[in-house]
Amino acid sequence: MLDPQMPGSEVDEAFEEFVRGRSTHLFRLALALTGWDRTAAEDVLQIAFERAYRRRRQLFRHGSAEPYVRRVVVNAAIDWRRTRRRRAEQSLDAAIGMAAADQTGQVADRDALVRALAALAPKQRAVLVMRYWDDVPDAEIAAALSCSAGTVRSQASRALARLRELSGDRSFPRSEYSTRGENHE
């Protein structure tokens, strides 16, 4: 944790170090959240870092800027998807391109999952990506999405069920946790 009284130049250095260290990971998060739209992911990343830059003194005073930046990335990506989305199939093209580059033996399975993931509704995709790829605890996902942890769990459950339908995979379980609708704390 940084000293709250640190001079401005040190805050700037800490911020730059954070950007250097985490920009690749956060860019990949943005890429997954935008349905593998590279231009949109770069835009989302810039928005997030610009906002974090404005608040850098407060952010580093409280330890890590990552939860805040992740939250901005997630919400900017959701906003971008909602304003752009006309049909889910739009995002499949980009997803196909990414998956096609994968030449391993599991290409078909990954291709189906990536395509299905890209076709999910933005918030559902955000829950799955943060939960299963980024290992973010439910409470932090809830904070990022401004909802309850219970809602995160029900979203994850519905998203997995939808993923199964979209990918045509019958080996998915009926539900990971709750089989319910919304659950608001």
Partner: protein
């Protein structure tokens, strides 16, 4: 089941990792951020002159919204921020505040992400880097008491906290991240007077309700029945199951052709003792294994009183309202355009006409003649439709109106 679940999580993880592998931003992020920042500053400067005119017209409203506790802003006497009277407990940006229709605001001291009202006091929670912590306090935010500190363990978190009806105990779910996003859930009860914690065992999902001050109603670990758990002993007994004839009959009557229910859950309790009404959520299994055609059956003494089964492709939410009123929310996933809210009563399973919205929740005003529908940070107020509103003091008629500020409603009290 765990093997299958872990396999899916691993496949998802592998698929995403493979898809993003090697991806890097095509520019120097730091330079781009500085450039973008300069551009936005220029836009702000250009917009400054135009903003002056806007500020003049919005100043009255803002002043009303940010007035000191209990005070009314000058010139705001005639402003009505929302219909339905009472006071709203709102959460926004890590803060809680009470908002009155005339714009008066009472801020709850400290940073909190959400709260519920029980036994005449607030149960508030906050997220932080070290976990979720719970506090009790008076409705005005005074006498704050930390009742459940954060676990200071990134693998452990407390979710779904609920105070018992008498406010003496806190029930919550302890979620443990085992590995790679795989979590286990355990129900716990904390005696607020003694600090003693009791492990109530594994949970099927995060939904539970206090039946009375000594008993919790939740779903059995197999997901096929509802069980009553004594918080004193941790012993459980079956309440109803998906095979209970009365439930099967009520469900099949409400959802003809769906077949018998396969899934069950608790949607909360109204009243206590002999007068308690219990809402039971039921659903059938889709041919691909997914949940389909949900319905809510309200039981009194384990006998169906009424069943709600509005047309819905996916999710069905249920919220108890004042008196005989209930709220139903239906929708598909997080498609904002698919969510609708219905008002209904305990006298009839036929709900009122649907009103759009309510994806993130819905609640009645204290009288029941206004509904607040939450979609993201937007709160929209609509008049409770007939015939449900006829069970209140009077039906209102007004155009849907949105709260002119982003917030999430936590409670609506007189």
């Amino acid at each position: 089941m765990n093997d299958i679940r872990n396999d899916i999580q691993q496949r998802l993880r592998d698929a995403i990792t493979a898809a993003v592998n090697g991806a890097e931003p095509s520019f120097d992020v730091m330079i781009a951020v500085r450039r973008r920042r300069r551009r936005s500053l220029r836009r702000l400067a250009a917009a400054g002159a135009a903003a002056v005119a806007v500020v003049a017209t919005t100043a009255t409203l803002l002043a009303a919204q940010h007035a000191l506790p209990g005070q009314r802003a000058p010139g705001a006497a005639t402003t009505t921020l929302f219909p339905g009277g009472g006071r709203l407990l709102l959460a926004h940006a890590g803060a809680l505040r009470w908002l009155y229709p005339d714009g008066r605001t009472i801020r709850i001291p400290g940073k909190f992400n959400g709260a519920s009202v029980s036994a005449g006091e607030l149960l508030a929670w906050k997220y932080s880097k070290v976990g979720t912590s719970y506090y009790t306090m008076r409705l005005d935010g005074s006498r704050q008491r930390l009742v459940l500190p954060a676990f200071h363990d990134s693998k452990l978190s407390a979710i779904g906290g609920q105070l018992s009806p008498d406010g003496s105990k806190l029930a919550y779910i302890q979620q443990k991240m085992v590995s790679q996003g795989n979590a286990t859930d355990t129900a716990w009860v904390l005696n607020l007077a003694t600090g003693k914690r009791t492990d109530l065992g594994a949970m099927f999902d995060s939904a539970f309700a206090w039946l009375d001050d000594a008993t919790i109603l939740t779903t059995a670990p197999d997901g096929k029945s509802l069980v009553l758990i004594s918080v004193a002993t941790g012993r459980s007994s079956r309440y109803v199951a998906v095979t209970t004839p009365a439930l099967v009959g009520a469900y099949e009557h409400a959802q003809p052709g769906a077949g018998p229910p396969e899934f069950i859950g608790s949607d909360g309790v109204r009243g206590s003792g002999a007068s308690a009404r219990v809402a039971v959520w039921l659903a059938a299994k889709h041919r691909l294994g997914a949940v389909t055609r949900p319905a809510v059956v309200v039981l009194h003494a384990r006998t169906p009183v009424v069943t709600y089964a509005p047309k819905t492709p996916d999710a069905l939410g249920f919220t108890w309202g004042p008196g005989d009123l209930v709220l139903l929310q239906t929708g598909a996933g997080d498609g904002p355009g698919t969510w609708q809210a219905y008002a209904a009563t305990l006298q009839s399973g036929r709900p009122s006409r649907p009103v759009p919205g309510g994806m993130a929740g819905a609640t009645f005003n204290p009288v029941g003649n206004v509904m607040a529908l939450q979609d993201g940070g937007t709160l929209t107020f609509v008049a409770t439709p007939r015939p449900a509103c006829e069970h209140t003091t009077r039906c209102l008629a007004f155009q849907p109106t949105a709260l002119p500020q982003s917030a999430t409603v936590q409670a609506w009290l007189p």
